[in-house]
């Protein structure tokens, strides 16, 4: 497998990533990150989430600006459809995470990417969320991700890129493995 070469440019700074990997393996405490989001109820099923800060490398970090995400339910759920449904936001998170990994691994392996498109589809039986059938889970019954990759490598090498991206993907891990979720409530106002 060829290493990253100067002729390949996917816009990923692999040297910086490898440097960080080396530095953090010597200082594992700096590898402890905290990711955050806040979400405000707007009206009905419409809400607005934002991300501004996170913690990492031993200190508070700021995004360059605040990023916001609106979510709602579609009209078939008698909502106003003012944003993506939250489950679609999950698909976007998975897709973006895999996509970033594909670019980074391609750069490291010296593969020039020309275009990459991922199409995601997740099945869901809404008898679960509607409480019709207790045997049906609320969430997806599975997720299909199809990648179309135009890159300067064999079909097997492109498939290996996507496989390696899944192996190192945070969101892939989050959706494939159980995570403890703690929710607390404070009365305000």
């Amino acid at each position: 497998m060829s290493e990253s070469t100067s002729s390949v440019d996917n816009g990923v700074n692999v040297e910086a990533l490898l440097g960080a990997r080396e530095a953090l393996s010597q200082a594992p405490e700096a590898a402890q990150f905290k990711w955050r989001a806040t979400c405000d109820w707007v009206k009905g099923t419409h809400s607005k989430s934002s991300v501004t800060s996170f913690f990492g490398l031993g200190e508070e970090q700021q995004h360059r600006r605040e990023f916001t995400f609106e979510a709602d339910h579609p009209e078939v759920f008698a909502s106003e459809d003012l944003g993506a449904t939250p489950v679609e936001v999950v698909l976007c998170g998975l897709a973006s995470c895999l996509m970033a990994g594909v670019a980074a691994v391609a750069q490291h392996r010296g593969i020039q990417l020309n275009s990459v498109k991922a199409t995601l589809e997740a099945g869901m039986d809404i008898q679960g969320i509607l409480g019709i059938d207790a045997d049906v889970r609320n969430g997806f019954d599975g997720i299909n991700v199809s990648f179309e990759v135009d890159g300067d490598a064999s079909a097997e090498d492109l498939e290996a890129l996507v496989a390696q991206s899944q192996k190192r993907s945070a969101v892939f891990d989050i959706v494939t493995n159980p995570t403890n979720v703690n929710v607390s409530v404070t009365k305000t106002g």
Binding site: D141, K167, F172, N177
Partner: protein, 421 residues
């Protein structure tokens, strides 16, 4: 005299070797060639781990023709066979006899300390002082469990490959084998064939065919030079040292032991075991990807072999290239399994091994409990060496035949160290 070893003055020797398995004996032979005065401490008998900590059906993954140690090689009439445990023990015992190794059996080392330029070694039969120490106590002393093991439901019995001998010691119910390296697949195979329904939890693994183009995979790995790859040819040695053992078995019929063979037998494949919620086991949804990774990686290895074969003068004499079917996965692999309702009564943790360094009172371990070393030369403790670990200096270090190069290097390094001291 009271007879207590604590009252005896410590005996002195230039070097001590800890462990009389194949690695300890190989270095003993090389030290004797260099004229280094040494002893070999063995907690039990020669080849102790092979004797007491392995299951009955285990055979080596390397064919007999490949089995050799410095100054000794296989001389039987079945070069393409694979040694059983009793044959391995016999092989190593005969080697110890041939080289007349200075082994003290039933002499467990209880402590190794560093004192200025010397090492102080406490053993069950007395104290010693030496200028050099070679740790050859093995890579597989203790089973490794994932954190989830502590939440195993009480209704199942759990055991490790160190306790497992054969299927008859198991309850008649189903068995969950956790881990799909050589150990996991070999045990899943024989337990399923004993009539117990086996489920195997599969994380990252290494898939290899036993026979490729009519030759043993070890022949190809040797001929292409892959087994000879050394430390400085590898980008990430930590990763290379942690690669799980390939899905191979050394059986008389040279069977290919992969996940498709498991499925053919009726073994159920599930993803990596992630959690227990009461009696319900939860498995990762990554099964398809870990199998894709292993299939693709095997494909790249076979490409490398084919490219090498095509360059050889005898290229025409090799059987044609082959490719193997992708690993078959159900459309909806099971994600949760109620062990109680499913009748699973045993969990077998085939999740790896680690060395036991409890007796080592020199600060040479990293934060993960691994010995810090550069190709067998232990870091920050001059005169201390380690031998017999996976990819110590070369890929073949994991195998018996890989010990020779490592032992010769260490014997030379150690001799130079003693001369300079």
């Amino acid at each position: 005299m009271t007879g207590s070893s604590d009252d005896q003055p410590a005996r002195s020797v230039d070097a001590v070797v800890i462990g009389a398995g194949h690695a300890g004996l190989a270095i003993s032979h090389c030290l004797r060639e260099q004229g280094v005065d040494h002893v070999v401490f063995e907690r039990g008998e020669i080849a102790n781990s092979w004797r007491n900590e392995r299951w009955e059906s285990l055979t080596l993954l390397t064919p007999n023709w490949q089995c050799r140690l410095p100054g000794f090689s296989y001389s039987g009439d079945d070069p393409d066979g694979f040694m059983s445990m009793s044959e391995v023990i016999d092989f190593i015992e005969r080697y110890a006899g041939k080289i007349d190794a200075p082994v003290l059996t039933r002499t467990e080392v209880t402590s190794v300390r560093r004192n200025a330029d010397q090492y102080e070694i406490a053993t069950a039969t007395g104290n010693w002082r030496s200028r050099a120490v070679i740790v050859a106590s093995g890579a597989c002393n203790l089973p490794v469990f994932p954190p989830v093991a502590s939440a195993s439901p009480a209704l199942v019995s759990t055991l490790t490959p160190h306790d497992y001998r054969n299927p008859s010691q198991l309850d008649d119910g189903g068995v969950l084998v956790v881990g799909a390296s050589a150990t996991g697949l070999q045990l899943a195979d024989e337990i399923q064939q004993s009539g117990r329904a086996v489920t195997i939890a599969v994380g990252e693994h290494v898939r290899l065919p036993r026979i490729y183009r009519d030759r043993d995979i070890q022949w190809w790995m040797h001929a292409t030079g892959i087994l000879d790859e050394s430390l400085d040819e590898i980008d990430d040695i930590v990763r290379a040292r942690n690669i799980p053992s390939p899905q191979l078995v050394g059986s008389r019929d040279r069977q290919i032991l992969d996940l498709n063979a498991m499925s053919d037998l009726g073994v159920r494949l599930v993803g990596r075991l992630m959690n227990f919620n009461g009696t319900v086991a939860q498995f990762s949804g990554s099964l398809r990807n870990v199998c894709a990774l292993a299939d693709l990686k095997m494909g790249r290895l076979l490409d490398t072999i084919d490219e090498w074969a095509a360059r050889q003068p005898e290229a025409e004499s090799f059987s044609p290239p082959e490719r193997f079917a992708r690993t078959r996965i159900d459309d909806h692999p099971c994600l949760t399994l109620d062990l109680d309702r499913d009748g699973i009564r045993t969990i077998l943790w085939a999740t790896g091994y680690r060395p036991d360094y409890q007796w080592l009172d020199v600060p040479v371990l990293d934060r993960k409990g691994k010995l810090r070393h550069d190709g067998g030369v232990v870091s920050d403790s001059p005169g201390m060496y380690v031998l017999g670990l996976p990819f110590l200096r070369r890929r073949k270090s994991s195998f018996i035949h890989g010990t020779e190069d490592d032992a010769r290097f260490i014997a030379n390094h150690l001799t130079g160290y003693l001369a300079r001291q």
